[in-house]
C-alpha cells in the first residue's frame, strides 16, 4: 500500500512537472502589435511618445501614411540611419503598414514645452518663417503644407509639434546633405536647400516652443491645397 502511494505520488509529481514543461514551452508572447513593436520602444517610447534622447522623434499620432513612407524609406535606404535601416531591412511592406497604423493610433499627450534658450530675435525669425515663409527666397510657410495649426494632414504630411529642436534641425540638415530623401518631387529637399543655418536654428527653436493645440489630430486628406507638388502627398 505504502509503495503504491509512493508510486502514485511520484506519478502525480511527474505529471505535474510534465504539465509545467508543456505550459512553459507553449507560453507565447501576446499576439499584439504592442508586443511586436517593442524593438521600437527604447528610442521612441512605449507608445511612441518619444524618450529623453533629443534626436529620437515622437511617432504617436503622426499620419499613418507619413509613418509608412518613413519605414519604407529606411528599409530601402532612401533615408539613411543605419540602426533603423538594419532593423527594417527584411520586414514585409504590409507589416510595416501595420506598424505605421499602430503608432498613428497612439495618442499619449504631447510633452510639456521645454524652456527655449534661443534669443527673442531668433524666435521671432523662426515665427516669421513658420507662419509666413520668405517669398523672396521662395521659402513657403511651414503652415502652408503642415497645416495652420501645424498638426499635418492625412495621409503623408506630419505634424511639427511635440518635436525637439535638435531633431528638427537634424532632419532639415539631413535633407540639405542628402541623407534623407523622399519620392520625387522631394519637396522638403527643395525647401531645406533654400534655408541657411540660421534659418534652421530659428525654425527649430520656434516650433519646439509651441504649446500643444487642443486638437493634435492631422487634418483630413484634401483639407487645403498644397502650394507645390510633393511626392510624399500624392493628389
Amino acid at each position: 500500500m505504502f509503495a503504491r502511494t509512493i508510486a502514485l505520488a511520484a506519478a502525480i509529481a511527474t505529471l505535474t512537472a510534465f504539465d509545467g514543461a508543456v505550459a512553459q514551452t507553449t507560453s507565447q508572447p501576446p499576439d499584439t502589435m504592442a508586443a511586436r513593436v517593442e524593438a521600437c520602444t527604447p528610442c521612441h517610447g512605449n507608445q511612441g511618445e518619444g524618450t529623453s534622447d533629443v534626436y529620437f522623434p515622437r511617432l504617436a499620432g503622426k499620419p499613418a501614411g507619413y509613418l509608412y513612407n518613413q519605414l519604407l524609406a529606411f528599409k530601402n535606404g532612401r533615408r539613411k540611419y543605419p540602426p533603423m535601416n538594419y532593423l527594417l531591412e527584411f520586414l514585409p511592406d504590409p507589416y510595416l503598414q501595420q506598424m505605421a497604423d499602430y503608432f498613428a493610433d497612439q495618442h499619449p499627450p504631447l510633452p510639456p514645452v521645454a524652456a527655449s534658450d534661443a534669443s527673442k530675435d531668433v524666435l521671432q525669425h523662426g515665427q516669421s518663417l513658420v507662419s509666413r515663409g520668405d517669398p523672396q527666397r521662395q521659402i513657403p510657410a511651414c503652415g502652408s503644407c503642415h497645416g495652420p495649426a501645424l498638426t499635418g494632414m492625412e495621409p503623408g504630411i506630419p505634424g511639427l509639434l511635440g518635436l525637439r529642436p535638435n531633431y528638427i534641425s537634424a532632419q532639415l540638415g539631413a535633407w540639405r546633405y542628402g541623407t534623407r530623401t523622399a519620392k520625387a518631387p522631394d519637396c522638403m529637399q527643395q525647401v531645406a536647400a533654400r534655408l541657411t543655418e540660421d534659418d534652421v536654428t530659428a525654425v527649430a527653436a520656434w516650433l519646439a516652443s509651441r504649446p500643444a493645440p487642443v486638437n493634435v489630430a492631422p487634418a483630413p486628406k484634401g483639407t487645403y491645397v498644397l502650394p507645390f507638388a510633393c511626392g510624399s502627398e500624392p493628389d
Binding site: 527604447p42 530601402n76 538594419y86 527584411f90
Partner: protein, 415 residues
C-alpha cells in the same frame, strides 16, 4: 516578386498535388519555373540586385577587405547583361568562374560552391534568367586597391582554394542526405560565410563549415559542425527546418546576415528540400563537444560583471527571455542552453544586445517579434555584464566578456 504572387497562387492551385509531375514536365515553362526555384536556392538576387534597383540588374556595392566590388547585370539585355551568352557560357561561369572570353571572375561570385551544381540545374537557371525582362544598365567598374586590382592574382587564389567539379553523391548516405549536401555545398554556398576566411579571402577544404568572422560585417558565422556553435547535432529535424524556412524555431531565431539568407532564399525552398538540408546539417555535426573555452578575464572581474549582469538582465531582459532564460519560443528565443549565446566568439550576443534586430518576415512568420537595441540605454560595462551573465547563467558554458569587447562592437557596421 510580390506582384507575381497571385499568379503563383493560381499556379500552385492548378498543380496542387501534382508537384512531382510538374517537376518532371519537360516544357519550357517548367524549365523556367525550376530555374527560378534554383535561382532562389542560390540566392542570386542578394548580390545581383541593388537596393531599390531593377531585379538582377546588378550594381550592388560589395565591400571586401580588398576594396569594393560591384555585382554585374545578369538580365538578358544584349548590350549590358548576359543576353549574348550561350548556355555553355553560363555553365562556364557557374562551374569554372570564367567569363565567356575566358577571363577570371573574382571569387566574390561563389563559383567555388556553384561548381558543384549539375549541368541540368545550371541550364534551368539560365533558362529562367533568359526569361526575365532585360534591363539596360552598364556594369560599374570594381574599385579595388593595388595589388588586388590585378586579376592575375585570382590565378593564385584559384590554385589554393578552388577545386572544380560537380557534386558527387556519397553512396553510403541516404538520397535525402545527398540532396541536402548538394544544396548546402552547392547553390546554398553556405561555406562562403560559415568557414573561416583567411587573409587571402579563401577557405581551405579542411576548414569547411568550421565557422568564422565574416569580413567587413563583423558578425560571427558559427561553425556548422561544432555542437558548441551552430552544429545542429542535438536539434530536431523539425526545429532545423523551421529555422531555415520561417526564420524562427523552438531553439533559436536567425539574425544578422542569416536573416537576409532566409528572407531572400531559404523561405522559398519546398518542404522536401528544406528537410533534406536539415538532415544533412544535422548529419555533419561532430559527435563530441570540445571542452568549454577558458575566460581571458581575471576571476574577480568576472564575478563582479556577472553580478551586475543579473541586475541588468532582471530589469531589461527577463520580461521576454524569462527569469531562467527559458524565453517564449519560437518568437522570444530561449537563452538557456543556446549555442548562439554560449559559443566561444561573443560577437553575436554582444551585437544583438547593442543593435537588437528583427528576424526576417517570411511566409511562415510574416509579422516577426523584434529585439530592442540597447546601445543607447546601456553602458559598455552594462553590456559586457549582461552578456557575461547570459553566457554563464542557467548552466550555460560560455565565458565572460570585457567592456572593451562591447565598446569595440559599437562601431561595427550595420549594413
Amino acid at each position: 516578386m510580390r506582384s507575381c504572387s497571385p499568379i503563383l497562387a493560381v499556379w500552385l492551385l492548378l498543380f496542387a498535388g501534382s508537384s512531382a509531375e510538374a517537376q518532371t514536365k519537360s516544357g519550357p515553362d517548367s524549365l523556367v519555373a525550376r530555374g527560378e526555384y534554383l535561382a532562389r536556392a542560390g540566392d542570386c538576387i542578394a548580390c545581383h540586385t541593388a537596393p531599390e534597383g531593377h531585379t538582377f540588374a546588378g550594381g550592388r556595392a560589395m565591400p571586401t577587405p580588398f576594396g569594393t566590388l560591384y555585382s554585374s547585370n545578369i538580365t538578358p539585355d544584349r548590350e549590358t547583361g548576359i543576353g549574348k551568352w550561350t548556355a555553355e557560357d553560363f555553365y562556364k561561369a557557374m562551374h569554372y568562374g570564367r567569363f565567356p572570353d575566358g577571363g577570371l571572375m573574382y571569387p566574390a561570385m561563389p563559383f567555388a560552391s556553384y561548381t558543384k551544381v549539375t549541368r541540368a540545374d545550371t541550364e534551368a537557371i539560365f533558362a529562367y534568367l533568359k526569361s526575365i525582362p532585360p534591363v539596360n544598365q552598364r556594369n560599374r567598374e570594381h574599385d579595388l586597391r593595388f595589388p588586388y586590382s590585378n586579376r592575375q592574382l585570382i590565378l593564385g587564389w584559384r590554385t589554393l582554394y578552388f577545386s572544380e567539379g560537380e557534386f558527387k553523391p556519397d553512396p553510403t548516405k541516404s538520397a535525402e542526405w545527398n540532396r541536402g549536401a548538394y544544396l548546402v555545398e552547392g547553390l546554398g554556398h553556405c561555406g562562403m560565410c560559415h568557414s573561416p576566411i583567411n587573409a587571402l579571402g579563401g577557405t581551405s577544404q579542411s576548414d569547411a563549415f568550421k565557422g568564422g568572422l565574416i569580413p567587413m560585417q563583423n558578425w560571427y558565422a558559427p561553425s556548422l559542425t561544432s555542437n558548441r556553435e551552430a552544429g545542429l547535432g542535438d536539434w530536431s529535424i523539425k526545429d532545423i527546418s523551421d529555422l531555415l524556412q520561417t526564420g524562427v524555431s523552438m531553439r533559436g531565431v536567425v539574425y544578422g546576415p542569416m536573416a537576409e539568407v532566409v528572407h531572400n532564399s531559404l523561405q522559398y525552398l519546398n518542404d522536401e528540400d528544406t528537410r533534406a538540408m536539415a538532415v544533412y546539417l544535422k548529419g555533419i555535426a561532430e559527435g563530441s563537444s570540445p571542452p568549454p573555452a577558458s575566460s581571458v578575464l581575471p576571476t574577480s572581474e568576472s564575478s563582479l560583471l556577472v553580478s551586475l549582469g543579473k541586475t541588468v538582465y532582471d530589469k531589461h531582459c527577463a520580461s521576454c527571455h524569462g527569469t531562467q532564460g527559458e524565453g517564449k519560443p519560437p518568437h522570444w528565443p530561449p537563452l538557456a542552453n543556446s549555442q548562439s549565446i554560449e559559443m566561444q566568439s561573443a560577437v553575436n550576443p554582444i551585437r544583438m544586445v547593442l543593435n537588437g534586430g528583427y528576424p526576417p518576415g517570411t511566409k511562415g512568420n510574416p509579422m516577426p517579434y523584434g529585439m530592442p537595441p540597447f546601445a543607447g540605454l546601456l553602458s559598455d560595462n552594462e553590456i559586457a555584464a549582461v552578456v557575461s551573465y547570459i553566457r554563464t547563467a542557467w548552466g550555460n558554458r560560455g565565458t565572460p566578456v570585457s567592456a572593451r569587447e562591447a565598446n569595440e562592437l559599437r562601431s561595427a557596421p550595420l549594413n
